[in-house]
Amino acid sequence: MSWPQLNRRLHLYLALSLLPWFLVYGFSSLFFAHPSAGQRLYNDGVPTWTLRFERPFNDPAPDGGGGALKALGKKIMETCGLEGSFGAYRHSPTQVNVYVYTFWKSTEVKYFLDRKLLRVEDRRFRWDQFLTGMHARGGFDQDGFLDDLWAVLVDVVCLGFLTWITTGIIMWWQVKHTRMWGWAALGAGAGLFSAFLTWL
């Protein structure tokens, strides 16, 4: 197999392998850019959150965020019998929120420090949030092996994008009669992007 052919095959097979991620990132970006589109799709009066249960809880909350808050979040999840990827943040001086999520389901626990109460609520399923949730998922902050593996795949997709740029530019350069318009497209894009850095 010649070098140009190898370059083409790499571009093609990599794209076919990573196509599901590519399309998810593409379609979900639409809902990030136009959040009202998702709101309009589900403007049917059904509440976003449904109460599952409430229960008493009394544990001091750390002043700062980070690891201490995450440890409290884990304890709250154990108390509520919840499992999965999660994050914790201080919503207000008297409230800590813990959100637990999978691709298909999201649950939020509100810990009201002043009332010593936990409220567990489930979010209704929405396709726009399913896509944006998948888009935003990443990082190596979770304890689970599969979460780390997903984050590795996010890196792989990024490497895929860099590879498509490289192999794509090589393919363009090999088709000599497209060079002039190719330079024009590349230059116009780079120029416009640079201009936005100044205008914005």
């Binding site: 093609l12 399309l23 599969l146 116009a188 894009g189």
Partner: protein, 197 residues
């Protein structure tokens, strides 16, 4: 004819949007490795350092909203553009100017007309993340609407690259067998994560 048109559009669109592809890719890597940057720089956003302090002599019309006041201050300082307003102490207006390269915080104290302008220290990961999250038509500035159009173009291009790529692959009969293997392999892995995560 259609095939040639698809190939050329696929390629020229990719060449034009190369800076956006690079920015979204590098910013995704930075966000995916948030922990690394947290260890490097510590928690929280980059710090602000004082750039200028002056007495602002402008005036607001009676009953001007906080947004209108912020716009007037930004215009007089030559820093017009997308901004947010931070909740601050009474009598103070804290404007966060969302400049992509050098975000600024401007604190205006109504009592003495003092205006403190602070510039955020540049960090590559914060810059990339800021660009990645920038979108939408909710700002009043034309440049931001222009950027939002490019974001929409990029979204459309991603879907187009995917679909036109499938078309081009199917036209090359010699690559169909291994293409199906690659596509099914990726699909199976993706489905596995859909079920387990």
């Amino acid at each position: 004819m259609i095939s040639r048109l698809l190939r050329r559009t696929h390629m020229y669109l990719a060449l034009f949007l190369t800076p956006w592809v690079l920015m979204y890719t590098l910013s995704t890597i930075a966000m995916n490795h948030h922990g690394f940057f947290r260890e490097l720089y510590g928690d929280g956003p980059p710090a602000f350092e004082k750039e200028n302090e002056l007495i602002w002599n402008g005036s607001f019309s009676d009953g001007a909203s906080r947004g209108a006041r912020a716009r007037a201050i930004l215009a007089s300082a030559g820093l017009e553009g997308a901004f947010g307003i931070e909740k601050g102490e009474p009598g103070k207006l804290v404007i966060l100017r969302q400049d992509p390269v050098h975000p600024r915080r401007m604190t205006y104290t109504q009592a003495d007309g003092r205006l403190v302008i602070e510039k955020q220290i540049f960090r590559t990961n914060a810059f990339l993340e800021g660009m990645h999250r920038r979108r939408g038509f909710h700002h009043d500035y034309l440049a931001d609407d222009g950027w939002a159009v490019t974001v929409d173009l990029f979204v459309a291009a991603m879907v187009f690259w995917g679909l036109s790529g499938l078309w081009m692959w199917w036209e090359m009969k010699a690559t169909r067998k291994w293409g199906v293997v690659a596509a099914l392999g990726g699909l199976a892995l993706f489905a596995f994560f859909l079920v387990t995560l």
